[in-house]
Symmetry: C2
Subunit: 116 residues, 2 copies
């Protein structure tokens, strides 16, 4: 899928609405439409990167910046001390359905192990 | 916990053994002693960073490099196409027990949703 057909690129472009909760020069976060925790947001890079397999060395700082978003959102939503889980799925076995990398930030409840 | 008491820093220093599967200038990965999938490795930065809440802007490229390890290990273990899940827990609600950030890479099976 090219970035022109990408659902998340369309959200970034404002072509599809989303409940955006965070924006930085490199990342945007919005609420998952099928939340699995009291807070469940998807943190995405502004750059279209399809899967973890496609992350290049030049993207490392961008990928790291997704965790800035996680920390800031966790603090704002009041669970940074209590804790939270950050998950990135790659391809079908993990359930990736949108091929623009996204860090799932889940917080506001206890999490079990294994992680799915 | 300071880095001097940190289990993962002791593994990095060679003071405690681990089944190391990957090494780069910024990251090391070793097999989880309580695996939750056919492949379950912990990818850690060489730099001691306690939790996601402690990641600084200067650490972004290091954190991004953990995904290089994930991709390379997934390729080597034969499930990069099929897919895999990468999870980072922060603090108690998510089950973080070692306070040196670690990316759980799980592969070799199907994963369910929610992720714990």
């Amino acid at each position: 899928m090219s970035k022109h057909d990408c659902l998340f690129c369309k959200i970034l472009n404002g072509d599809i609405p989303a409940d955006i909760v965070y924006e930085s020069p490199t990342a945007v976060a919005f609420r998952d439409i099928n939340p699995q925790a009291p807070t469940h947001v998807l943190i995405i890079p502004r750059k279209h990167i399809s899967t973890i397999n496609d992350i290049e060395v030049a993207d490392h700082a961008i990928v790291g910046s997704l965790y800035d978003a996680a920390r800031d959102i966790a603090k704002k939503e009041g669970f940074s001390g209590e804790g939270y889980r950050a998950v990135m799925n790659c391809n079908k076995a993990a359930g990736q359905t949108v091929f623009h990398i996204h860090l799932h930030l889940l917080g506001g409840r206890q999490f079990t192990w294994p992680p799915g």
